[in-house]
Symmetry: none
């Protein structure tokens, strides 16, 4: 495998921010979209489709902010939009104008290529549809844009009326389009048939062909790869396969397959080991739990449970893995739960700079404690700082707590004029003094955080730099009849470092309090280690 | 499509209970296994592989109980096991004896077909490996069993040393095996290459060939279907694709594709509409949340979010679905989101039994209001009841509110002994009276809910049947420096019906309050409609 990516001869075109945002449950803020674009650019994809300016106010804002705030190293930003309306002038179409206003180098235009859709949805005829495509492409090209055309419903359209479908591709290229993208919009294709169609289209037209697949037959990744084998040189994917209905072709599986199975260096070599990390980070931004069994990047993708396999794995891990998990930044796990408990804690200890190998009894106690807490709803997977505190406590390495709580009280008042006041009072002991402070906030937890800071800041000057940067709540449903439990994750930052702590309780405010306290105790520990 | 299933000419072979049980997180009890077998049999699969008797005590028990308790209508139960050990007599191998003791009509034997595995894992040579396969098959056939042979690591083995791999198949058939199953054990195959190999094997041997795929390239379903197109007449799948690492080929997607795309009636016709129900029931038994975006059977598999698509769906639903969702017992849903336009709201209105077609100005206002609210963090995708209230409000169809809030106050006290008290007071106007009530709860929202019920129940008797059945919280991070917003989803039930409402606010308690109020207002609306 060459270490050079294929440049413009092969396009990895990501549409997480446009088509991927159609997934049920995803709502990106503009800030989220900028963060997604940065991660994708870091991976080295060639194109990032950012949205549909004009149609969605949020996307218009995204492109405006992207110009000012994004400094992309690899990717070109792409605006998505439709061709002009039937029987209108392209230079008078506000949607087309919004596309130009997005000010991207590249524009993707969606064009109908199934005659039934032209007639039933667009309510126009084939000739006008072709004119709409040609006019709009030419207009955008004349304004200095590179244009790709998404031929919507191409495969269904080609099966129904091949000449009409090919005619739309011709109009696109005639207008100056660079790539025509064959879209399996309804996702009904299977790989062998799809590959045959792609081959036919290329041999009949000679055009540069791209592929865009939906996962309704659970074949989106396979269809995308089959299209490449049939000659497509532009693949449209979304991170983790997010998309409407069953989703789109998963970027990570497509890239994994193209690089490791077909030997196509479609991303910079060093990016491959980033796939797992970026996949999980993008899930975090989308606020969707990562799919544990996802190919290549899932937490279970290289996890072995079978006793049959375990002995063979010991002989040679390659015998039972289709690739070396390190290639994609993932790791192999053998699921022998009790052993894995000790082993993973020891590994974790190494990360924290704690040598647990010589303290077997402390590890035993810590494993037991972690298991007890996890049975009650705690989770340390994403809360390293709380886990470190737990480990150091077992090793009796923790100094005296920086403060001790006596009590707190939170008052929430929704008055008859609709005004809401949240107020908290804390009573704490810090630096030998008993301190009582009250503060307001925009919610109960915010008020509690404010009161605690007010009480501690005169005594703990380092607190000034510490901020709560993220706050996540999950309600853990219990068996019917029992009370639900709330798990709170708090992410803190001191401007240099970020750390995450966890709290679990039946009461959301107390769960938040526990996580807040861990955050401050962890910072205090670091401060002491430095002085 | 014929209404007759293909009988023995095509095998749908399910291995949910054997290979599927290798999925991380699944532990079936014997009772679970019996329930899974009943559901699969009801679907009409031809074979149910129940486990590995002898190797797993639970599986030995399963086969014993299955004989007594299962009354299978369609499926044959299959026991799975290995060939005899190297350099031993087959009639002295306890594992082979356990296979006979399971007393099934059919046995699947796993055989190594990759020379490297024969040498490194089995530590024997090619000739002895072939003898192990032939001897064991013949012994079981002589004892009246039908035998299938799983050729483990077949595709890797065939690529590495085709003669060795084919030799193992020959020994199996020589011993009397009925079907040789080509296994992509490490899951590294892609459809075009796999189909070519299957074709070669069939043309070189003439054997009856089956296929077993793992999902490590995200192509298990595509590979299975491609193998059938290449001549395989036996497919091994698991429910929902459960299995080791990234999983196996999903039974529901494979069957959906074979029946609706290739026109192969591999299950009884009436079974197809059961796919969705059975998939969810099997997820329930496995104690795994159903995968919402699963092809064919996922809750989102026919959910449409895009406004662009929704307008076309109104014209003809077939334009935007690859199949009629009813075919597989699923349903179409239109998701109302910021991307949605008039068309999705009108479709949604139809679901609620509201005719919006004659009220265009109300639709315009509702679309604007939905977009405004979504821009502030609301989401109606999962909160149909709140959306219905919004629509009816725009149509001025809502009666007077069942109650009006004056104010509420929530007090949370964490005392110095660690005890936490949550208490809420509400002041509301209901049935012409002003009512003040106070109640405690295990958290601020629970206390508020309790106080509201206490205030309303004497006046609204229907409230007695209404319960909060689920409560979800999401913190929506905004740009740094701005305040985060909290979105709360509340699911309510009255024992007959469930409905979901949403509330959004900077303060989590107020967000919860808004969702709680919508839940009660929605119920009141239903109650009035009935009287």
């Amino acid at each position: 495998m060459s270490s050079l990516p294929l440049g413009d001869t092969f396009h990895v075109f990501d549409t997480t921010l446009r088509d991927g945002a159609q997934r049920e449950g995803i709502t990106y803020s503009v800030t989220d979209k900028l963060a997604v674009a940065r991660l994708l650019d870091g991976l080295g994809v060639g194109f990032i489709e950012g949205g549909w300016p004009g149609a969605m106010p949020k996307d218009t804002e995204f492109f405006a902010r992207a110009r000012a705030e994004l400094d992309l190293r690899h990717a070109k930003l792409v605006a998505f939009g439709a061709t002009r309306r039937p029987n209108t002038r392209v230079d008078e179409d506000p949607q087309v104008k919004a596309l130009l206003d997005a000010n991207t180098d590249v524009i993707t235009l969606v064009a109908k290529s199934d005659r039934r859709h032209v007639e039933l949805a667009l309510r126009t005829d084939e000739a006008e549809n072709r004119a709409m495509v040609r006019d709009t492409v030419r207009y955008l090209v004349d304004h200095g844009r590179r244009v790709f055309v998404d031929a919507e419903h191409f495969f269904d359209g080609y099966a129904h009326d091949p000449d009409c479908a090919l005619g739309v591709l011709e109009s696109a290229v005639d207008g100056g389009a660079d790539v025509v993208v064959l879209c399996d919009t309804n996702g009904g294709q299977l790989p062998l048939g799809l590959a045959e169609t792609v081959e036919q289209v290329i041999s009949r037209t000679g055009f540069r062909v791209g592929i865009h697949c939906q996962d309704d037959t659970s074949c989106a990744v396979a269809n995308t790869v089959a299209a490449v084998q049939a000659g497509a040189t532009h693949v449209q994917c979304t991170a983790n396969g997010y998309g409407e209905r069953a989703g789109n072709a998963d970027l990570f599986a497509v890239v994994g397959n193209l690089v490791t199975k077909l030997g196509l260096p479609v991303l910079p070599t060093e990016s491959l080991a980033e796939l797992t990390r970026v996949s999980h980070a993008l899930a975090e931004i989308a606020n969707i739990a990562p799919h544990t069994h996802q190919a290549y990047v899932g937490a279970s993708a290289f996890a072995h449970k079978a006793g049959l396999h375990a002995s063979a794995i010991k002989v040679d891990p390659e015998l039972y893995n289709h690739i070396d998990p390190d290639t994609v930044g993932n790791g192999m796990r053998v699921l022998v739960t009790e052993m894995a408990g000790r082993a993973s804690l020891e590994l974790k200890g190494r990360e924290f700079g704690i040598d647990l190998a010589r303290r077997p009894e402390a590890v035993t106690n810590a494993v037991r404690k972690v298991k007890e807490l996890e049975a009650r709803g705690w989770s340390f997977e994403a809360a390293d700082a709380s886990l470190e505190l737990l480990l150091r406590q077992e090793l009796s390495e923790l100094d005296e707590a920086p403060f001790v709580l006596e009590s707190y009280r939170v008052l929430l008042d929704r008055r008859s004029d609709g005004e809401i006041v949240s107020e908290a009072t804390v009573k704490v002991h810090v630096a030998g003094e008993r301190v009582i402070e009250t503060a307001e906030g925009n919610g109960p937890v915010h008020a509690l955080d404010a009161a605690l800071r007010k009480a501690l800041l005169p005594h703990l000057s380092w607190l000034d730099s510490v901020e709560l940067s993220d706050y996540k709540v999950r309600i853990l449903a219990e068996a019917p009849g029992t009370d639900a439990v709330t798990r709170v994750l708090v992410e803190s930052t001191d401007g240099e470092r970020e750390w995450t702590t966890v709290g679990v309780h039946g009461n959301i405010v107390e769960a938040s309090w526990l996580a807040l306290c861990d955050a401050l105790v962890h910072k205090a520990m670091r401060v002491r280690a430095l002085v």
